[in-house]
C-alpha cells in the first residue's frame, strides 16, 4: 500500500520548519497541537518530522539530532503575555464621599486635582498592527 504524497502549503511548511528549529523531536502533545493548528493529520506531521530529521542528518554528519541547532540567544528572551491582573476598573472600591459637589464648579479647582489620561497607545501598542 502506498500513500499519496502530501502537498503542504507554504504556510504549513513555514510553521513546520519553525517548529523543527526549536525542537527536532515532538512529544505526542506537541504533535497533536501542531497537527490541529495546521489542519493536518498527526500522521502527516509525524512523517514530515521523520523525513526532516533524516535530511538534517545528511547535512550535519556526526551531529546528534538532539543537539540544539542554534544556542538560545539571550537577546531573545521569551516574552509572555502580561497577565490580566485584577485592575481597579472603577473607583468604587476607593471612593470616598466627595466633600464638594461637582456642580459647584467654582470650588473644583481650588480643592481637587483633575486627573488626566495619558495616551499610552503610541508607547504600548505594537507597531504595524493590522487594523482591519
Amino acid at each position: 500500500m502506498r500513500r499519496a504524497r502530501t502537498a503542504f502549503t507554504y504556510e504549513q511548511l513555514v510553521a513546520l520548519e519553525n517548529k523543527f528549529k526549536t525542537s527536532r523531536y515532538l512529544s505526542v502533545v506537541e504533535r497533536l497541537n501542531l497537527a490541529i493548528q495546521l489542519q493536518l493529520s498527526e500522521t502527516q506531521v509525524k512523517i514530515w518530522f521523520q523525513n526532516r530529521r533524516t535530511k538534517w542528518k545528511k547535512h550535519n554528519p556526526g551531529q546528534d539530532a538532539n543537539t540544539p541547532q542554534t544556542p538560545p540567544s539571550s537577546d531573545e528572551t521569551q516574552i509572555q503575555p502580561i497577565l490580566p491582573a485584577n485592575p481597579i476598573t472603577s473607583f468604587s472600591s476607593l471612593l470616598l464621599p466627595p466633600i464638594i459637589s461637582p456642580a459647584n464648579s467654582a470650588v473644583l479647582q481650588g480643592t481637587s486635582i483633575p486627573l488626566t489620561l495619558f495616551n499610552l497607545n503610541q508607547i504600548l501598542m505594537p507597531q504595524n498592527v493590522g487594523f482591519n
Binding site: 489542519q39 490580566p84 488626566t116
Partner: protein
C-alpha cells in the same frame, strides 16, 4: 496651577423603551448576546490581543456551553482554529486560568480537551473547530504560533454618533469645539452645555476603546472626568462608581 488639555466628552444617549442592542464596527451578533468578528489571517497572540483592543474589545470570552457552541459555529464554516481570551498559569488546573474580560476565575466555565491546560506547552489558549476536538480548548505557546482569532466588543445601541460604544457616545473635543484645549473647569462646563459629562472609565475595555479612538492623533494627554481630593481618593465628576 493651570491645566490645559484636550478633553473627552461622554454623552449618555437617551433611548426609547425597547430599543434593541446592535453590534457596530463590522462586528456580528452571535447568540443574541455577543459582538464578534473573525480575523482569519494568522497572527501571534500578542498581535491578536492588540488588534482587539483597538476596537475596545478583547479576544473572545466563552463563559458557558451555549456561548461555546455558538462561537464554534460562528467560526466553524471556515475550519480555522482561533485564539480565545484565556491565559493559564498551572497545568491541569482550569481555575488558574484568567479570562480577558477580567470577570474572575471562580467556577468559570471551561471546555479544555483532556490533558489541558498544559502550561508546559504555553499559557495561551485556542479553540479547535474541526475534527474530534471541535469546540474544545487547547494550550499553545504564545510567541511561535500564529493563528486566526475572534475579537469581542460590547453590544451598543443604534445611533448616528461616530464613536458609539457600549451604549455611550464619545466626542473628542478637537472634533466638536472651537476651543479643544480648556482648563478642567471650562471643559466640565463645555460638556454640561452639551448635556454630557467629562468621560468616566469603568472597564479595561472602555480604556482600550478610548485609547483606540485617540491613536491616530498626535495627542499626548486628555482631560477626563476624574478628580482627587487626596492621594488614593479619586472620584468621577459625573458621580458614577
Amino acid at each position: 496651577m493651570h491645566f490645559s488639555f484636550i478633553f473627552l466628552v461622554l454623552v449618555y444617549l437617551t433611548f426609547a423603551f425597547g430599543d434593541s442592542l446592535i453590534c457596530n464596527n463590522g462586528f456580528t451578533v452571535v447568540n443574541s448576546n455577543k459582538c464578534l468578528k473573525l480575523f482569519s489571517s494568522a497572527v501571534k497572540h500578542r498581535t491578536a490581543e492588540a488588534n482587539c483592543a483597538s476596537y475596545g474589545g478583547t479576544l473572545v470570552n466563552i463563559r458557558n456551553s451555549i456561548d461555546n457552541r455558538a462561537v464554534t459555529q460562528f467560526v466553524g464554516n471556515i475550519g480555522l482554529s482561533f485564539w480565545i481570551g484565556v491565559y493559564c498559569l498551572e497545568s491541569n488546573n482550569p481555575s488558574s486560568c484568567y479570562f480577558d474580560d477580567d470577570l474572575g476565575t471562580d467556577t468559570a466555565f471551561n471546555n479544555f480537551a483532556k490533558g489541558f491546560p498544559n502550561t508546559d506547552i504555553g499559557g495561551c489558549v485556542y479553540s479547535a473547530t474541526s475534527g474530534s476536538l471541535a469546540g474544545q480548548w487547547i494550550s499553545s505557546e504564545c510567541d511561535n504560533v500564529e493563528m486566526a482569532y475572534v475579537c469581542e466588543i460590547p453590544m451598543t445601541r443604534a445611533d448616528s454618533c461616530a464613536h458609539n460604544y457600549n451604549g455611550y457616545c464619545y466626542i473628542m473635543s478637537h472634533e466638536n469645539s472651537t476651543s479643544p484645549i480648556l482648563s478642567f473647569n471650562d471643559a466640565y462646563k463645555s460638556c454640561q452645555d452639551n448635556c454630557a459629562n467629562l468621560v468616566s472609565i469603568h472597564s479595561r475595555r472602555e480604556l482600550s476603546y478610548i485609547q483606540g479612538i485617540y491613536s491616530p492623533f498626535n495627542i499626548s494627554s486628555v482631560t477626563i472626568g476624574g478628580l482627587s481630593t487626596a492621594p488614593m481618593a479619586p472620584y468621577w465628576s459625573d458621580l458614577s462608581h
